[in-house]
């Protein structure tokens, strides 16, 4: 019961109220009902589409790469030949424990173009200064790298847990049938991992669509909106421009996008009846 009350007070009420807000615009200090105006404005707002596009680029490029990497890591963690296994597992999982803001700040220092450690190290091997956070393309790449650093280990651990539930008889049978390493992976491991892959895909998709902390701290959405995500744009509208109605409309648009993508993923990857 307390849980329900808390949920109602801190989740349900804000969710409902922000919908009401999304139908209003504050004019001269008074919330004025404007119907679907905020949503109509959304459709014609180039920055909203830029934000959506940036978010989708991360979704389409970073998430699959990260999950492939996580699957590889999970296999390695599970390998009988790996020594000091728990050290590696802990090492890759540890980034997940660091606070979003803390690691964002650390990376912004590391990736500083003029005085960052990364460019200093690259300089030692003769590579010139890389504009990690100040060039539109490089800023996107940096954001992808930082996200990968933070979340790969986490996904690997989820995949690993599933990996360990695949019965070893299946591998024995595959060996008897003469399947090679690749055949075993494709026909035994991957099908066995399917539920975990679905889970990590959906979680990563939701996480990516809501991504805020990293671009906010690393680049503030810049340069020239190259790393503007929906979360950052929402924040700017609410807390920099005081346009709560429009920000709420963005949030609802985002919820719809997440819902639709989630549905598609369950269709494509989910258990078939």
């Amino acid at each position: 019961m307390p849980a329900v009350l808390l949920f109602a007070a801190f989740k349900l009420y804000p969710i409902g109220w922000s919908f009401v807000l999304s139908l209003h615009r504050r004019v001269g200090g008074v919330d004025t009902f404007v119907g679907a105006d905020n949503y109509r404005r959304l459709l014609h707002d180039p920055l909203f589409w830029t934000a959506l596009e940036n978010t989708c680029v991360i979704l389409v490029i970073q998430v699959p790469l990260m999950l492939a990497l996580a699957t590889g890591l999970a296999l390695a963690f599970n390998s009988a030949t790996l020594r000091a296994r728990s050290v590696f597992r802990l090492g890759f999982f540890l980034p997940m424990v660091t606070g979003l803001v803390a690691y964002g700040v650390i990376f912004s220092v590391l990736l500083n173009e003029k005085s960052g450690l990364v460019n200093w190290l690259l300089g030692l091997v003769g590579i010139g200064e890389v504009p990690w956070l100040t060039d539109p393309l490089w800023a996107k790449i940096s954001l992808g790298l930082v996200l990968t650093w933070h979340y790969t280990g986490y996904n690997a651990v989820i995949l690993l847990a599933r990996l360990q539930t695949i019965p070893s008889e299946l591998y024995d049978a595959a060996a008897v049938d003469g399947a090679g390493a690749w055949g075993t992976f494709r026909h035994v491991t991957l099908p066995g991992l399917r539920p975990a892959i679905l889970l990590t895909t959906v979680l990563s998709t939701i996480g990516t669509l809501q991504i805020f902390d990293e671009p906010y701290i690393l680049t503030q959405g810049g340069p020239d909106n190259a790393t503007l995500t929906i979360g950052v744009y929402l924040y700017q509208n609410a807390f920099m421009y005081f346009d709560f109605g429009y920000a709420s409309a963005i949030a609802y648009a985002l919820a719809v996008v997440i819902g639709v993508l989630g549905l598609i993923q369950f269709r494509v990857l989910g258990d078939r009846p």
Binding site: K11, I15, W17, T134, D224, Q236
Partner: protein, 448 residues
């Protein structure tokens, strides 16, 4: 397995997660409803909290002992919230009807109109507490900023910053350029070329990828030197005006000539470039002089200061580029006591002189300038009287600039346009035209 049920649950989870973000914005509520619920209270005693940031906060704190000699029963608690954190904190507190808001708030000109427009009762009317007595005490144009319609006084001016031009006199001498003789920015462009050739130094620095909201400071100064701004007094968008195109064109020419260093990373990059001596000129306002002295105390005698060159020959070199103010929360129950502190800090020359001596924050209060400190030669600036340089600017007629509640949005589109011009070689006129149209789309304002 129960596939359909799992699907439904999964989607539900995804939706809830999305809507959780929606919840982020839900705290705005009806805002102002409760914000005007404050009252004057007893003017002789109270427990007053003050929000400010960094240097100014320290100076406010330093004034408290003197204040308590006169008002022993009013306790003052100054909190350094940090800038820009303070703006979020004020916004959320005002949106919550003033819950948790301090009694006295330090607010910049860039945020003041926004708060006033979005939260009409968020700030107390200081006119009722006695502020109108000081109507003519402040630098030109500032009363219009705090009381644009003349009926309601939302704040009282604290600092008034004029456009400035700090330069490394030793570098100018080495290059054989007379800094004092620069009349226009075209002259300055030629001077910059000489400096680059002789010493390898840049003329000035700009945060090209706009890592910070104020990345277009220099652009804004060039605009204000022409008496122009992002909005006109009617609130129409003037971002694509000839003056704006001229300002952006100057920046492009300086950049194309290789005279602009990149201050990517914002404030920290700026400070480290001062330490390294990357550029010969810092086209920053009054308050920045104190920062330079603090950053490179060992370079005393190497620096000079003057007002910036004009945009066109014979044009003005003086303009007030920004101001900050103290306001009282509309929700405060001790407005009378809070006013005592505001009055003590802002209308008493001794207080302002002390603050100037501490952190070089230039008073908006004109009587403070009678003090000798503004008329003594500065060792750091080669015996120049820095105070007089800027006092001359404050006395010059300065048009009122309409920051409007949409200033933050304007800054953003301007910074993006500047990034396009500097990093992608965009044409100033078309980049600004696009910026103006985008701003119009967002705000429903007209483009002139």
């Amino acid at each position: 397995m129960n596939v359909s049920r799992r699907k439904v649950l999964g989607i539900g989870g995804a939706l809830a997660a999305g809507a959780g973000l929606a919840g982020l914005t839900a705290c705005s509520g009806t805002g102002s409803a409760g914000a005007g619920s404050g009252s004057a209270g007893d003017g002789r005693k109270g427990d007053i909290s003050v929000w400010s940031w960094a240097g100014p906060a320290a100076e406010l704190r330093a004034l408290v002992p003197d204040f308590n000699k006169r008002y022993p029963d009013i306790k003052i608690n100054v909190q350094d919230i940090g800038n820009p954190a303070i703006w979020n904190k004020i916004t959320t507190a005002m949106a919550a009807g003033g819950a948790g808001l301090a009694d006295v708030l330090h607010i910049g000109v860039d945020y003041l109109p926004g708060y006033v427009e979005k939260f009409p009762d968020g700030l107390a009317d200081l006119g009722k507490l006695g502020a109108t007595d000081y109507k003519d005490s402040f630098a030109q144009g500032l009363w219009q900023t705090v009381a644009p319609k003349g009926d309601r006084v939302s704040a009282l001016p604290w600092e008034a910053n004029s456009a400035g031009f700090y330069y490394r006199a030793d570098i100018f001498e080495e290059s054989g350029v007379d800094a004092a003789a620069l009349e226009t920015w075209d002259d300055t462009l030629e001077a910059g070329k000489k400096i680059k050739q002789k010493t390898g130094k840049y003329l000035l620095g700009i945060d090209k990828p706009a890592s910070q909201a104020d990345a277009a400071n220099f652009f804004q100064m060039l605009l204000q030197l022409q008496g122009a701004f992002y909005f006109n007094l009617d609130g129409d968008i003037t971002l694509a005006s000839p003056a704006a195109v001229k300002a952006m064109t100057i920046i492009k020419e300086l950049n194309d000539a290789g005279l602009v260093s990149d201050l990517a990373g914002g404030w920290n990059a700026l400070i480290s470039s001062i330490k390294k001596g990357t550029a010969a000129v810092l086209p920053w306002p009054t308050w920045f002089g104190g920062i330079i002295e603090e950053t490179v105390p060992g370079e005393a005698g190497k620096w000079g200061v003057r007002l910036p060159p004009a945009v066109s020959r014979g044009g003005t070199q003086a303009t007030t580029v920004n101001s900050t103010h103290l306001a009282i929360a509309g929700s405060s129950k001790q407005q009378a006591a809070a006013w005592k502190f505001v009055e003590f800090v802002l209308t008493r020359p001794e207080s302002q002189v002390r603050i100037y001596k501490g952190k070089g924050i230039a008073p908006a209060l004109m009587t403070a300038y009678d003090d000798l400190v503004f008329h003594t030669p500065s060792e750091f600036f080669r015996g120049q009287k820095k105070g007089e340089v800027f006092l001359e600017a404050l006395k010059a007629p300065s048009p009122a600039f309409n920051y409007s509640p949409d200033y933050a949005r304007a800054l953003k589109v301007v910074a993006d346009a500047q990034t396009k011009v500097l990093l992608k070689g965009a044409d100033p006129a078309s980049a600004l035209q696009k910026a103006a149209e985008q701003l119009a789309e967002q705000t429903g304002r007209k483009v002139l």
